[in-house]
Subunit: 407 residues, 2 copies
């Protein structure tokens, strides 16, 4: 097997991981709201967290633990309460949940990580969450049902649970990576907390895993998510059990690139699921920028287009309004010469270095925009810089969901 | 008279200016779409234009003219077509309109400026606009009716015409400043073209007027308008006829600050009218940031809050969702310590250095948010930096207007 194979899997697809998602009554009755991921052995662990200056208590705690030792064996996640802006009490609560869970699971507290998502500014119901962890411990299992229940137990405004898994061969051993995530923000998805967990049975060097996870985040979650627009709780954690039997992967391993590609594939697949489930989304749009002076410029342009409410509402309105696209391109901060710019909707040219598509061609583009998913390409004609961002339109339902979701 | 007096006036309130707004059939029948401002004498003139790399032809032409000589005597404005992304033909068209208008008005072409607003990427109907200027010349007058007709003739999706005027005393002479503007973007208003014109009868030094106009723009149009998010056509022009009889105002004039305050007042009044008329707006919100490390940080925070779709939809939903405000504060890029932050809605504290308002207090804030206009204050508790941005909520109607406004 030289290629990567996508599986219908999740957080327990890799060897050595069990999971459960249970009802703990964190905020609402009769919904799964506490998830537990438990590994059979201590795992090499990497984490990428929010860059928001206002970081939630669980983010502070996990950062501290992974900085001290890049290892973990369990993660406890709750939805319904973000434990953000909760001060010293919030930190104490996050630590109390980790400590109590460690005791229940017979682990050293340093090996238990915690995540929270939900409303900012309210305190965690610590006892109910610990009771939930006890219930989850009893339900721990491998397979589709626990994968799905755990993925459901981390959702907030998500409408579907989100999972992905791939297999690759490393040293002739089958290595599996599986994951789950939640997130359903739209214009600036990171403002609605994004939580993502990836497990693998590969043996991986801790330092290399941290840099690989950062690289994977950069082409996946950071490509649906404009850098810097991050919630207080955003978290991406990767646990590697080492049970696949390969020699430890680091930068010198011949299959390092193959593992990295698999990690990127799982993360990108999960990230795209977040956009697809964006609040009120009706269109999934891939914005590709090429011909920029450099990669930084390409990113500025892609980000400006993907963030522009005027562009996003035009997608919702099936209007190939390239004027709004070139306008966002112009104010992005990137080097732009409108005489060299080409703009395409689904491969059809709307604006070609000053020449404008006619009505019939614009009508063709409108047809393409009727699809659930389409591509907008901007070629700046200046250099080799390119970037891709996955984004979505801006709809009535987005406003409705966010106007009605109350504190 | 030591104070500033607001008048019910407009672009002809200052001595030496006449105006007209006429139907020229630029894009639609039976609507005023060409405005002409004519001064009795050549005027000292300053201009502030879009920083968008993709600048419309009229912006290119006006910039060139004012760089060569900071004087003008007439401005021709059309709505219905932006003359942006129209290449060499667009530039030739803008010059042809200025030249033909100069001939009609008996002026040197260097003294005639042009502005356009409307759809990007279509060519101007040059002949119809020149015919419109001829019609406008015949209608030129002073007073409420021409002021209103000119202000209407520059509107696009604006629902109301926008004018302002003030008087101050300089050297014992009454000096009047009057203006009009158009613009009705919402989240990023500069993407929907903002055009503003201010006339005054003060005698003003050209170099000083340019710096004064920039300073006035910074506290007005750039405070409803996030820096850098500018349309291809944004324009603010100030013409000074000098007919008030004062000694020429420059940086050393004892009343320089008084004139600057009046210029800022007219610009701020016009800028607020743009927000009030924002597309689909139901709330006018003043975001005040204080206690920032410096002014730059205060601006970052105010801008992040004013731009956040999650914050803006919460305003629409009458939800004092301070969690979204502190989240935007945290990712703004400014120095933030959540333990020192205070957040107020209409003077009532929602978040006080970690203490959170109770349900009854939140209900009071919801009452305040029922008003058409309210204030959100964020005190970072770190230093002396402060900034204010005027902004609005994000509604169903915004999506509707922008999804249905087609190329």
């Amino acid at each position: 097997m030289d290629e990567m194979t996508f599986l219908n899997g999740g957080i327990t697809s890799a060897k050595g991981f069990r999971t459960a998602g249970v009802e703990a009554g964190v905020k609402y009755a009769q919904r799964r709201d506490v998830a537990l991921i438990l590994a059979d052995v201590p795992c090499v662990t990497a984490g990428v967290f929010t860059t928001n200056r206002v970081a939630a208590a669980p983010v502070v705690v996990d950062r501290e633990k992974l900085a001290a030792t890049p290892r973990s064996q369990a993660i406890v996640v709750n939805t319904g309460c973000a434990n953000a802006c909760t001060g010293a009490q919030g930190l104490a609560d996050a630590r109390a949940i980790a400590d109590a869970s460690a005791k229940l699971l017979g682990l050293d507290p340093s090996l238990v990580l915690v995540s929270s998502t939900g409303v900012i500014g309210t305190l965690l119901p610590v006892d109910r969450i610990i009771a939930g962890v006890e219930k989850a411990k009893a339900a721990l299992a491998v397979g589709d049902i626990p994968n799905e229940q755990a993925a459901c137990a981390i959702m907030t405004t998500d409408t579907v649970q989100k999972r992905a898994a791939v297999q690759v061969t490393i040293d002739g051993k089958v290595v599996t990576l599986g994951g789950m995530c939640k997130g359903a923000g739209m214009i600036e998805p990171m403002m609605a907390t994004m939580l993502a967990y990836v497990t693998t049975d590969a043996a991986v060097d801790a330092t290399w895993l941290q840099s690989a996870l950062k690289a994977a985040a950069d082409v996946s979650f950071n490509r649906v998510v404009v850098d810097g627009d991050e919630s207080t709780n955003d978290t991406l954690i990767c646990m590697a059990s080492g049970l696949a039997g390969n020699t430890t992967i680091d930068g010198n391993h011949p299959d390092a690139e193959k593992f990295l590609a698999a990690l990127k594939a799982v993360c990108t697949n999960l990230a795209k699921q977040i956009v697809m489930d964006g609040e009120g989304v009706s269109k999934f749009v891939t914005v590709k920028v090429r011909g920029a002076r450099d990669t930084g410029d390409a990113h500025l342009v892609a980000r400006a287009i993907a963030r522009s409410p005027l562009v996003k509402t035009s997608w919702f309105g099936l209007d190939p309004n390239w004027g709004r696209v070139i306008c966002a391109t112009g104010y992005s901060g990137a080097e732009v010469d409108e005489r060299l710019v080409r703009i395409y909707y689904g491969g059809i040219c709307a604006y070609d270095c000053g020449r404008v598509a006619d009505e019939a061609t614009l009508a063709q583009m409108t047809e393409i925009m009727r699809e659930r998913s389409f591509e907008v390409v901007v070629d700046l004609g200046l250099g080799e810089g390119e970037d891709t961002i996955y984004t979505c339109d801006f709809t009535f339902d987005y406003v409705k969901i966010n106007a009605e979701y109350t504190t």
